[in-house]
C-alpha cells in the first residue's frame, strides 16, 4: 500500500501527460492523415495510476478503403480531364475538322458548277489546304497530349519510387520500434499511412501486413513495389508497340507491365492513352488516309484543265514499319496502301518464325498467316530486301501518321481534274436513237489505255444484235434493242457506260479523247459524290467516321466523368468513415480537457490533503 502522496504524484504525472496528448490532438486537428491519440490509463493496484500506452484511433480496413477509393478517384479524374480536353479539341468549331471537311466538299461542288473558271478551283485548293492544316493541327495536339502523358508518366514513376523508398524505410523503423517497445510508434504509423495515401493518388496497389508490422505493397498483376524493407523501383522506356508512347517496366527492364497498371494518376494516363488517345489518332489518320487515297484515285481518272491526266491532290506518307530492336535478320519490310477503303485504322504486328510470317491485328488480336508480298486489310506487305531470322518482328502502323503527313500536293488550280478523259458522240447521220450515256472510268491503264491512241468506233450490227468496236480496240458488245432499249451497262477496258435506245444497222457511236473539255465537270461530280459515299471500311462516309471518332472520345469522356463523380462520392464516404473514427473533434477534446483538468485539480487536492495529514501528524507528535 503506497502513500497518498505518491498516488497523487502518479495521478498528476499521468494526467499531465494525458493533457499533452489531448493538446497534441488539438494541435493536429488540421493534420492530414493524423489519427487521434488516446491515453490509456492503467490502475496500479494500490499505487495510483500510469499511462500504459497511447492508442491510435485507427482501423486498417477503413484506411484501406480510402486508399483504394483515392486510387479510383485519381484514375477517373485524370482520364476524364484528358478526355474532356480531347473531346473539346475535336468538337470545338475553332479546332474541329468537321466544319472544314464540309467546306472542302462545298468547294468541290462549286468547281463542279464552274469547272472552267479558276477562282472556284483556287478556292478548292485553299479549302483543301485548310483541311489538311486542320488535320495536322489536331494530330499535333494529340501528339502534344501524348508527350504530356509521357512526361507525366516519367514524373509519376519517380514519385512512386520516392514514396516506395519511404515506405520501405518506415517499415524498417516500425518493425524496430515494435520489437523494442512492443508498440509501434503512432507517429511512424501515421507517417507510413501518409506515404501510402500519396502512393494511392499515383497508382492502385494491394497491401499485405507482415508479422513484424511491415507492409508489402503490390501493384495489380503481382508486381511488387515494396517487399518488407526493400523498395523495387519502376522505370519507363519507349513502348515496343507504339514508338510514340512510354511504357512502364518493373523488376525486369524493358518488360512492359503498363497493361497491368490500374488506379491512380498513372493508371488514368495509361487508360486514356490506350483507350482514347491512340484510337483517336488512328481514326483521325484513317480519315486522312482514306480521304487522300479516294481523291487521288479520282484525280488519276480525270483530266485537268490543260487536258493532262490528273495527278494526286493530296499527299500522305506510306504506312510506318518499325523493326523490333531485337531483330537479328536483315529483312527490310515495306508496306504500301493498296485499297484505302479496306483499311481498318488498327496497328499490326508482323512476326517471322523461321518459315512463316504471321500478321496480328494488335487491337482485335486476330492473327493470320501471310506470305509477303501479300495484300491484307487494304495494305501490301513486301520484303524489300534482306532475309528475316526466326523471332524477328515488325510493327506496321498503316494510318497512324496519316493525319500528321496529310498535305496538299497540288499548287496549280488548273491541275484539278474536273473532266473525264473520254467523251462519246452519236454520229449525226445515225438513223436510230441509240445512245451512250453515263460514262465511267474505272482505270486508265487497262487496254485500251487512256488517253486513247485511236478513237473507239461502235458500229451497230443489227444482224448480230451487237455493236462492233473498231479503232482503239477490237471487240463487240452484245446489244439487243428489243430487250436493252431502256439501258444496259457495257464495258470496254477501263470504260463503263450505258447503251440505250434503238439503233439502226450501221449507226455509229464514237468514244474519243476529251480534248479541250474545259466545261466538263463529270469527274468533279464524282469527287463531290465522295462526300456521301460510304468509303471508310466500305461502311461509313468521311464525316461519319469523324463523328464516330468524336462520339468514341465523348463516350469515353462521359464514362470517365461519371466514374469520377461516382468515385468522388465513394471517396468522400470512405474518408468520412475513416475520419469519423480517426480524426480529431475539438468539442470532444474540450470535454476531455475539462475532465483531465478536474482530475488534475482533484489529484492536486489529494497531494495537498496528504500534506495536511502529514502536517497534522507532525504537529500532533511535536512535543
Amino acid at each position: 500500500m503506497s502513500d497518498p502522496l505518491s498516488i497523487g504524484y502518479s495521478a498528476l504525472e499521468s494526467l499531465q501527460k494525458a493533457i499533452s496528448i489531448t493538446g497534441n490532438n488539438i494541435a493536429n486537428v488540421n493534420t492530414e492523415g493524423y489519427s487521434r491519440q488516446i491515453a490509456s490509463f492503467d490502475g496500479q493496484t494500490g499505487y495510483g495510476v500510469k499511462i500504459s500506452s497511447i492508442e491510435r484511433n485507427y482501423d486498417f480496413y477503413l484506411s484501406r478503403e480510402v486508399q483504394e477509393r483515392t486510387a479510383g478517384r485519381f484514375e477517373a479524374t485524370t482520364t476524364s480531364d484528358l478526355a474532356s480536353r480531347l473531346s473539346t479539341l475535336l468538337t470545338d468549331p475553332a479546332t474541329s475538322a468537321a466544319g472544314v471537311l464540309d467546306n472542302f466538299f462545298s468547294a468541290v461542288q462549286d468547281v463542279a458548277n464552274n469547272p472552267s473558271t479558276l477562282p472556284e478551283r483556287q478556292v478548292l485548293l485553299g479549302e483543301a489546304q485548310t483541311l489538311t492544316d486542320r488535320f495536322q493541327f489536331i494530330d499535333g495536339r494529340i501528339g502534344a497530349l501524348s508527350s504530356e502523358i509521357n512526361l507525366r508518366m516519367g514524373t509519376i514513376v519517380s514519385e512512386i519510387n520516392g514514396l516506395t523508398t519511404n515506405i520501405a524505410t518506415l517499415n524498417d523503423k516500425i518493425a524496430t520500434s515494435l520489437q523494442r517497445t512492443g508498440q509501434a510508434a503512432p507517429d511512424l504509423l501515421d507517417e507510413r499511412d501518409r506515404n501510402l495515401a500519396g502512393l494511392s493518388k499515383l497508382v492502385g496497389y494491394n497491401i499485405r501486413e507482415n508479422d513484424d508490422g511491415s507492409f508489402d505493397v503490390n501493384m495489380g498483376g503481382g508486381q511488387s513495389l515494396v517487399s518488407q524493407f526493400t523498395a523495387l523501383s519502376l522505370t519507363t522506356f519507349v513502348s515496343t508497340t507504339n514508338p510514340n508512347a512510354m511504357a512502364v517496366a518493373g523488376k525486369s527492364a524493358n518488360a512492359d507491365i503498363s497493361s497491368l497498371i490500374t488506379g491512380g494518376e498513372l493508371g488514368g494516363l495509361i487508360d486514356f492513352r490506350v483507350n482514347s488517345l491512340d484510337p483517336a489518332q488512328a481514326q483521325l489518320g484513317l480519315v486522312a488516309t482514306t480521304l487522300s487515297a479516294s481523291f487521288n484515285a479520282q484525280q488519276a481518272l480525270g483530266l485537268d484543265l490543260n487536258g493532262a491526266a490528273g495527278t494526286a491532290l493530296f499527299s500522305s506518307t506510306a504506312p510506318a514499319v518499325t523493326a523490333a530492336s531485337a531483330n537479328t535478320g536483315s529483312a527490310v519490310i515495306t508496306a504500301t496502301i493498296e485499297d484505302a477503303s479496306a483499311l481498318t485504322g488498327d496497328r499490326y504486328g508482323l512476326a517471322y518464325d523461321g518459315t512463316n510470317w504471321a500478321l496480328q491485328n494488335l487491337t482485335t488480336l486476330a492473327s493470320q498467316a501471310i506470305s509477303p508480298p501479300a495484300t491484307v486489310h487494304g495494305f501490301k506487305v513486301t520484303v524489300a530486301s534482306g532475309t528475316a531470322q526466326a523471332g524477328d518482328s515488325y510493327l506496321i502502323d498503316p494510318v497512324g501518321s496519316g493525319a500528321s503527313t496529310f498535305s496538299v500536293a497540288l499548287t496549280d488550280p488548273e491541275k484539278i481534274a474536273a473532266a473525264l478523259p473520254v467523251r462519246s458522240s452519236e454520229t449525226l447521220t445515225n438513223r436510230g436513237d441509240g445512245a451512250l450515256t453515263n460514262m465511267k472510268v474505272t482505270s486508265t491503264t487497262v487496254a485500251p489505255t487512256l488517253p486513247l491512241a485511236n478513237a473507239l468506233t461502235l458500229t451497230f450490227n443489227s444482224a448480230q444484235n451487237r455493236y462492233d468496236v473498231t479503232g482503239g480496240a477490237s471487240m463487240n458488245l452484245a446489244y439487243n434493242p428489243a430487250n436493252d432499249a431502256s439501258g444496259v451497262s457495257r464495258t470496254i477496258g477501263g470504260l463503263t457506260f450505258t447503251l440505250s435506245g434503238t439503233p439502226v444497222n450501221g449507226d455509229v457511236i464514237t468514244i474519243s479523247n476529251n480534248t479541250s473539255a474545259s466545261g466538263d465537270n463529270r469527274n468533279m461530280l464524282l469527287m463531290g459524290g465522295l462526300a456521301t459515299s460510304k468509303y471508310v471500311e466500305g461502311a461509313r462516309t468521311f464525316s461519319d467516321e469523324y463523328s464516330s471518332l468524336v462520339t468514341n472520345v465523348a463516350v469515353k469522356s462521359r464514362k470517365a466523368q461519371s466514374a469520377a463523380d461516382a468515385e468522388r462520392v465513394l471517396l468522400e464516404q470512405a474518408t468520412t468513415a475513416r475520419d469519423n473514427l480517426q480524426g480529431v473533434n475539438l468539442e470532444e477534446e474540450a470535454i476531455q480537457l475539462m475532465r483531465y483538468q478536474q482530475a488534475l485539480q482533484a489529484a492536486a487536492q489529494l497531494v495537498s490533503i496528504a500534506d495536511t495529514v502529514f502536517q497534522a501528524m507532525m504537529t500532533a507528535t511535536q512535543r
Binding site: 473531346s87 468537321a98 472552267s116 479541250s516 469522356s557 466523368q561 468539442e587
Partner: protein
C-alpha cells in the same frame, strides 16, 4: 455519431463548392445559349449535331447548285427564245418569198434578211455565260462552238451535257450541247429529203413525201423523161448503189414509190428535169437557212426559177418546222428541268428547316428552365453559405 472537426469543415466546403459549380455551369449555359457545353455531356447528341451540321452544309452547297442550275437554264432558255424568234421570222420570210407575186428583187432583199438571221443564229449558238463559257459548246466550253462556212456554219463542240448535283441523289442537266439544239433537227420526213435540180425547166413541185419504217436509205435520183412531145411523161428512180429501183408514168399527185418511200408532185415536169433524194436523217438549222437564202438570192423572174423557189421553199418550210420542233422540245425540257430544280429547292429548304429544328432541339438551351434552375441553385448556394458561416462559429472552446 462522432465526427471529426476537419470532416465537419470539409463537408461544409464541399457543399459550397458543389453549389458553386452548379451555378457556374448554368451561368455558362445561359451565356452561350447552348445546352451541351462539352461533348461528354451528351455524346450521342454531339454526334448527331456534327452529322446534322454537315448535312446542313451539304444542303447549302446543293442550294447554291440549284441557283447555278436555274441561272444556266434561264440563260439557255433566253438564247433558245431568240433562236425560236429567228426561226419563226425565217419561216415568215420563206412563206413571203414563196409567194408567186414576188419579183426577183423582192426575193433578193428577203435573202439579205435571211442572211442576217443566219448571222444571228450563229451568234446565238455562240452565247457565252457570265464567266465567258460558251453554253452550247458541250464539254469544250472554252472553244467557240460555231463558225460561219459557205454552207452555213460548222460545229466545233461535242455532245457533252453538264449535270449538277442538286441533292444527295439528284443531278439535273444545266445545259444542252449545240449539236443537240442546232445540228440535229430532223431532215425532210426523217428518212429522206429532196432537192430539185437547179436547171429544171418544168413546173413540177413536190407536195408530200413519206417513208415506211423499212425504207432503204441511199441517195436516189428521180428523173423525168419525155423524149418526144407526144410521149407520156415517165420517171425513173435510180439509187447510187442499187441502180434503178422504180419506173413508171408520171401522173400529177400520183405516188412515185421507191425503196419503201414515196414522193408526190404536182405540175408538169419537163424532159430531163430531176430531183435528188438524199437519205440524211438530220439537217442543221444553218444549212436549212443557208439553202433557202441562196435560192432566194439567185432567183430570177423565169418560170423555171419560180418552180425552183416553190420546191425549195416548201422543203425549207418543212425543215424549219422540224428545227422549230427540235428547239421547242429542248425548251420544254428546260422548263421541266427548271420546275424540277424549283421543286428540289423547296425540298431542300424543307429538309433544311427540319434539320435546323432538330439541331436547335439538340443544341439550344431551354431558357425558362435554365433560369428557374439558376434561381434554385443560387438559393441553395446562399443557404449553404449561411449555414456554414453560422455553424463554424459554434465551439465549446467559446465557453472555456
Amino acid at each position: 455519431m462522432r465526427m471529426s472537426t476537419t470532416q465537419i469543415f470539409n463537408q461544409g466546403v464541399n457543399n459550397l463548392l458543389d453549389r458553386q459549380s452548379d451555378v457556374t455551369k448554368t451561368q455558362e449555359q445561359l451565356a452561350s445559349g447552348k445546352r451541351i457545353m462539352d461533348a461528354s455531356e451528351d455524346p450521342a447528341g454531339t454526334a448527331r449535331t456534327l452529322d446534322i451540321t454537315s448535312q446542313l452544309a451539304r444542303i447549302d452547297a446543293y442550294q447554291r447548285n440549284t441557283v447555278t442550275v436555274q441561272s444556266s437554264l434561264s440563260l439557255e432558255e433566253g438564247a433558245l427564245s431568240g433562236v425560236i424568234n429567228d426561226l419563226q421570222r425565217a419561216r415568215e420570210l420563206t412563206i413571203q418569198g414563196n409567194n408567186a407575186t414576188m419579183t426577183a428583187a423582192d426575193r433578193g432583199s428577203i435573202a439579205v434578211e435571211l442572211s442576217a438571221i443566219l448571222e444571228s443564229l450563229i451568234a446565238r449558238g455562240n452565247t457565252q455565260d457570265a464567266s465567258g463559257e460558251y453554253i452550247f459548246g458541250g464539254f469544250q466550253s472554252g472553244v467557240q462552238p460555231f463558225s460561219k462556212t459557205t454552207g452555213g456554219a460548222a460545229y466545233h463542240g461535242d455532245d457533252g451535257q453538264r449535270f449538277m448535283q442538286v441533292s444527295a441523289d439528284v443531278q439535273i442537266a444545266s445545259s444542252n450541247s449545240g449539236s443537240e439544239v442546232f445540228m440535229s433537227a430532223t431532215a425532210g420526213n426523217g428518212s429522206f429529203d429532196y432537192r430539185s435540180a437547179a436547171n429544171n425547166t418544168g413546173t413540177a413541185v413536190v407536195t408530200t413525201t413519206a417513208a415506211a419504217a423499212n425504207y432503204v436509205p441511199e441517195t436516189y435520183t428521180l428523173a423525168f423523161i419525155k423524149a418526144n412531145p407526144a410521149d407520156p411523161i415517165t420517171y425513173t428512180v435510180t439509187g447510187d448503189t442499187s441502180g434503178q429501183v422504180a419506173t413508171g408514168n408520171y401522173t400529177e399527185n400520183g405516188a412515185i414509190s421507191f425503196a419503201n418511200g414515196e414522193i408526190r408532185l404536182k405540175g408538169i415536169p419537163a424532159h430531163g428535169d430531176s430531183f435528188t433524194v438524199t437519205s440524211v436523217p438530220r439537217q442543221d438549222i444553218f444549212t436549212t437557212i443557208k439553202d433557202i437564202e441562196s435560192v432566194f438570192a439567185s432567183a430570177s423572174d423565169t418560170t423555171a426559177s419560180a418552180t425552183r423557189v416553190h420546191n425549195e421553199a416548201s422543203r425549207a418550210l418543212n425543215n424549219l418546222d422540224n428545227a422549230l420542233e427540235k428547239v421547242l422540245t429542248v425548251q420544254a425540257d428546260i422548263g421541266t428541268r427548271l420546275r424540277r430544280t424549283e421543286m428540289q429547292t423547296d425540298t431542300n429548304e424543307a429538309f433544311n428547316y427540319q434539320l435546323k429544328e432538330t439541331l436547335s432541339g439538340l443544341q439550344d438551351l431551354d431558357y425558362a428552365e435554365a433560369i428557374s434552375r439558376l434561381n434554385i441553385q443560387m438559393l441553395a448556394l446562399q443557404a449553404a453559405q449561411q449555414t456554414f458561416a453560422k455553424t463554424q462559429t459554434m465551439s465549446l472552446f467559446n465557453y472555456l
